[in-house]
Symmetry: C2
Subunit: 260 residues, 2 copies
DNA sequence: CGTTGCGTTGAAACATCTCAAAGGTTGTGG
DNA sequence: CCACAACCTTTGAGATGTTTCAACGCAACG
């Protein structure tokens, strides 16, 4: 329990990392760390939102299920993203573990009380919510007016940026440009608004174009980054559009994005 | 200038209406009211966000334009909605007048300064941003996994709820169930992620089903609300999902939604 | 009275979905 | 070590929904 906040003092984009250290003691007091296996439902759609928190490791998916069973993933949460819904009694979407996840979680009510006393913290959450809103609207553009090849390419491009931003921020290393997709074809399809077959076909077409090389179904080598961006139909793509301002300090990837 | 805040003291969902009256004096001091003709660009994508404010009358559209000219409307702002982007220097989307609009606007920087001094106001903005995020994600479901007939039906249903909530809140009247669509077919298409031809065909198919009657291209009589909801594929549809918590006080429409 | 802008309608082209089957990998038990 | 099942991914071919392109209708306007 003593080292709950250790992770958040590191260099990351979490709310806690953005907030003065003396807040950590208070946050620590109401928080605990838990892990969940892939596939676990952390919070159900329509139920009361009991917990909020931060993703430490793994990926969460926000899922909306229609009455007839159709599902749409409306958001993916990676390490340092906040999950849960403050100031609302009902979860508008389910929160599920897309991979094995490690979460730092706190009871929602107690966290809200804490917010009311610490406006700096609430301000940081506003900033992140605004960025998430922008990112969500950017994703609406993908869903609304891009074809399936473009959607898949855009998804891979965004994932690439995101992963390399995190890595570089953490260790400053220049790794080989490999994207690790932490999702099944079915999850990708649910996020991209299509079917798993179309996702599979699109990935192979992107590989045929020479932009990527398929290492295994979940790992791709970025062979030609400008080509990938071109296929995504979003040469305008820069990390901060989908990831928020906290991802913009990475010169290496910025160069890559601006190369087209 | 003296009555800038008059509107916001009425019964509406605006930030100002939610905040103690003594704030109005301060907000008034930095605000002014302006009208813009339909089609005017109020803020350009990628430019600095100079103003924020509230829609008093009319409809704003948030537009993202891709390099090749494709456009997606990622949000529509109605009376009492806030526009602009606090705490960001660059507008991620263009703000355009979809109809003639009347706006109460304030310089962004000065408004941010005001926010830093009045946490109640910032809190209200957080609440609204969270609700907008939920609404945006709900719209992602529409774009991601509903067919064109369902999208158009859902759009009409949401508009119906929204208009009647506002009207009923304002005057408590029980008007005939007429939806007024404040958008051209092209704008509807850009919002729904399709073409204007498909929008037109879908509207006529909905009319063929008997759910609506086309009075003129922008006015529809709701003949069978349950049928409209059924066609939308979202019988789960309640106003607060797309409109935020401030629309939930209307018993009349809630009965309508829950009738299915 | 022609022009302009917007909405509707039709028919062919196209992208994506659906259904079906095959291929590959992983883990388990014989 | 092999056989087998379970699961995920890939591939194929026909069905379907949507787009595209073109023409037409209609009202507002100069």
């Amino acid at each position: 329990m003593a080292d709950v906040c250790q992770w958040c003092r590191g260099s990351n984009r979490s709310v806690c990392a953005a907030v003065p250290l003396h807040f950590h003691e208070e946050i620590r007091r109401i928080s605990h760390i838990r892990t969940f296996e892939a596939g676990t439902t952390i919070a159900s759609e329509g139920h009361e939102a009991l917990f909020v928190g931060t993703v430490l490791r793994g990926v969460l998916r926000l899922v909306k299920t229609l009455a007839d069973g159709r599902q749409q993933i409306v958001g993916l949460l990676f390490a340092s993203d906040m999950f849960g819904r403050v100031f609302s009694d009902e979860m508008p979407f389910a929160i599920e573990a897309a991979t094995k996840v490690e979460l730092c979680m706190a009871p929602r009510r107690r966290f809200e009380t804490l917010l009311s006393r610490h406006h700096e913290l609430e301000h940081e959450i506003l900033i992140r919510t605004l960025d998430e809103l922008d990112a969500g609207r950017n994703w609406m553009v993908v869903l609304g007016c891009q074809n399936m090849l473009e959607r898949v390419a855009a998804f891979l491009a965004i994932l690439t940026i995101r992963e390399h931003v995190l890595e570089d921020a953490a260790e400053g290393s220049e790794r080989a440009a490999i994207v690790e997709v932490p999702l099944s074809r079915a999850d990708m399809a649910a996020y991209l608004g299509t079917t798993l077959e179309t996702v599979s076909r699109s990935i192979h077409r992107i590989a045929d174009h020479g932009a990527i090389e398929i290492i295994d179904p979940r790992q791709f080598l970025i062979k030609d980054w400008p080509a990938l961006l071109r296929l995504s139909g979003r040469s305008d793509l820069t990390s901060h559009q989908f990831l928020g301002r906290f991802s913009g300090h990475d010169d290496n990837m910025r160069t890559l994005s601006e190369a087209c």
